[in-house]
Assembly symmetry: C2
Homo-oligomer: 219 residues x 2
DNA sequence: CTAGTTAATTGTTTATTGCAAGTAACATTT
DNA sequence: AAATGTTACTTGCAATAAACAATTAACTAG
């Protein structure tokens, strides 16, 4: 399998976000083979010819291979190409970003979570990919249900409030947030489900069917 | 140059928007070669290995080849791939969309403008590309300076108002529109420049340096 | 039964927005 | 030169939504 001048390698790279200890983190995997063997990088792999429609199938396969799970939210980000981005030669990388609830990550994983403000130097053009992924995530977070996909299936209003603030990076008024979210038909209360401590129990919510199915359609 | 199983053809396809007779139109070119020779389709072409960074260079080359001009606004849209999208075999298409002021189009062009509500059947997966391009354009139009790129360098407030309405597809209040646009530092009045008829002359505006340079950076 | 803690709501003020009417600045007509 | 028509632009007001601050609700633990 030799590379011609006219046809590049095609790969996917994935920027996987999660929230750990109240901070937005990126999941990095140490590279198993050269180039940059042993260096933490965005999980990626080659696209197979049979992976139809768009390259989402390939991204799913990569994520399943690294984490053993499916990402609740996965979206194509941008396509990078050129002769210089990979030392092996002309390549095209279709970049994806995904949101992974921390609850889905098991401990002994082949990935490590790094806060986005404290990323190590990354190989290839991965710094560009990460920058674009964060920009997109922040941009969409403000007006969409996106950050909710960083939470497990059941969550309280305050969980959601915190997650939005962490992804956007600014403080949001509590009362206004509640009101706006409930207006938008993004989440619904789960009947008779509460989470309690030594205080008033918090009502549990879930994403509405509308949000879940509208996301499915995009895949 | 034979296609291997592992490396697809890489092409760009461009969805070129313009406003003609108060309607949002798409520019289509009749295909010069098989497959689908003679059929109107999105202008496209193969990506060359030396076209670095991302595939924007290839998209520029295609647009320059068809229209003889550079698009004032050009943005990567989505990447489509798979063995079935092109009858010639496995291919990847990086789709772009661009905004072209009608004033830049000369008459005897190799393209025809078709209103987006009256598109003919398009070959390949071009209908998907167009659908996604319109969705993105509409989505961004509401909160950005994007529709202004459909106008020439100088325009009146009412020109801008009409263009926004045409791209979004709904009516916008005149007073609120003026107010909001001026708040946002998107446009600025050109000193002492007016356009008159048999009535009060309209002040001419241009995009601010801030908007123009922030777009340049994205390229 | 009181204190402590987090959840959720309620008012009050302050910007935004939507709508309607009015004023401004011309050219053209009388 | 005054009246008229036409498009540009502004103003005022009512309705809505957002930001802020404080209050009430529902529990547990001592």
């Amino acid at each position: 399998m030799e590379q011609t001048d006219q046809q590049p390698w095609v790969m996917v790279d994935t920027a996987l976000f999660t929230i750990l200890e109240e901070r937005l983190c990126l999941l990095l995997a140490r590279r198993q083979e050269p180039p940059f063997e042993g260096v933490p990088a965005l999980p990626g792999g080659f696209v197979h010819v049979e992976e139809d429609m768009d390259t989402t199938m390939a991204a799913r396969r990569v994520i399943r291979g690294k984490l053993g799970i499916d990402a609740p939210y996965l979206e194509q980000l941008f396509t990078f190409s050129g002769p210089a981005r990979d030392p092996r030669g002309w390549s095209i990388s279709v970049a994806y970003y995904a949101l992974i609830p921390a609850a889905l990550l098991s401990q002994s994983q082949a990935v490590e979570a790094v806060p986005v403000e404290a990323l190590p130097g990354l190989p290839f053009d991965h710094p560009q990919i990460v920058a674009k992924a964060i920009e997109r995530l922040r941009g969409k977070a403000t007006y969409s249900s996106l950050p909710a996909f960083l939470l497990p299936g059941e969550f309280t209003m305050n969980d959601l409030h915190r997650i939005y603030q962490q992804t956007i990076g600014t403080r949001l008024d509590q009362a206004s947030f509640r009101h706006k979210i409930l207006e938008q038909d993004i989440i619904e209360p789960i009947p008779n489900r509460f989470r309690g401590g030594a205080h008033r129990p918090a009502r549990l919510y879930r994403l509405t069917r509308r949000v879940l199915t509208s996301f499915e359609r995009k895949i």
